[in-house]
Symmetry: C2
Subunit: 209 residues, 2 copies
DNA sequence: GTCTATAAATAGATAGAC
DNA sequence: GTCTATCTATTTATAGAC
């Protein structure tokens, strides 16, 4: 197995982490190589020494992200929990991955917004595996007579979309709170995860209509 | 040959439409003033003549977007439909606004991803009004004994997040389809809207847990 | 209102020393 | 592996003619 990004030498790791933060905050086009170099406490030439180009650097971050999510999700599917618990664990796994890689939600959201422009075949395969894993859990639950038939892509979107929204709207929720909107502060990560788990199960168990 | 849609009308409108498409496709930083000018079949100087700067042009599009969504949503709330139907109409209104302004979902999603960096006070007020309108409908349903208490922000996210995902993932869904993922083609706008309506009502009527 | 031409700044990428 | 210096292309923005 390829070593995880971040274990391959101090300067490469520093570049990787600085770049992840920069891409998350400003997007691919908005990201600036000079700023990444400064944040990594290195010079710009070192970025090109380690990664070759801005695009390659970005793709390395994408692959690292999906690699991790994929691993977590596969662990869930290969456990011998009940289908219900696997769905709960699937939701938790996505949330855990997002919490472990704070740059993940903004980067992924932007990638969606631009139609997966920077997603190469390798990255797409990782993303696809996450989806297929969920599909397998749904199928398993159907075979066990616990789930009704459901489109895996729709269920997936119903899980990922609200979670990404939650992780990404910290800043905006704070802005709304300062603008006088109530109900802002009593939204917690655990609460959102539980909410999403319940909705996913209600859908899969045919309790929504 | 007839001008392309979006290049008709007075020059200010042409700039506006071309810019909306460009910002949607490439984000604020990725958008290019030359490309906007070409798409509007005008020269770049005209953009500055009409809007002054790239940032001002972008903000004009943001305000226009939220202004329209706000109008549609207010119409829903001020009708005398039942709370259930108002929720259904609220969901449909968001989807209609997104369909009427195809640039809306990608721009909004990116804006979320960067924490509302380009959202000024005016835009925030529009966004806030949409939320308060939903809160009012929820409150009304509660007073009528039809809805259980629910956090409006959570309900709002549960509606908007999946809808935005749907509108924004056309390209990626096509990519996934070509990569062999099944269940991709039988996702329709109407189906997603109905799904989201049902989930929102299931949540508000206390049927999810 | 509309255009051409260009200034001024920025940013991705590379050369070459150490 | 790390650095400084720089090349080259791109891009926001403006000047000024018509």
């Amino acid at each position: 197995m390829r070593p995880k990004a971040g274990t391959r030498g101090p300067s490469r790791t520093r570049v990787f982490n600085a770049a992840a933060a920069e891409f998350a905050a400003r997007g691919y086009a908005g990201a600036n190589m000079d700023r990444i170099a400064r944040a990594a406490r290195l010079n710009k030439a070192m970025i090109y020494y380690h990664f070759g180009s801005k695009a390659a650097l970005y793709r390395a971050i994408l692959v690292d992200m999906f690699d991790d999510v994929g691993r977590r999700v596969r662990d869930v599917a290969s456990s011998n929990a009940s289908p219900d618990d696997k769905i709960r664990a699937f939701v938790a796994a996505i949330a855990d991955a997002a919490a472990a890689h704070p740059h993940f939600p903004p980067i992924w959201l932007r990638e969606l917004a631009e139609g997966g422009q920077h997603v190469d075949t390798a990255t797409l395969t990782y993303a696809r595996n996450v989806l297929e894993t969920l599909a397998a859990i749904i199928h398993e639950g159907g075979a066990a007579g616990r789930f009704v038939p459901a489109n895996p892509l729709v269920v997936h979107a119903g899980i990922v979309a609200p979670l990404m929204f939650f992780f990404v709207t910290d800043g905006i929720r704070a802005k709304l709170g300062r603008a006088g909107v109530t109900h802002v502060s009593n939204i917690t990560r655990a609460g959102v995860v539980e909410h999403v788990q319940r909705i996913a199960l209600a859908v899969l168990e045919g309790r929504v209509g």
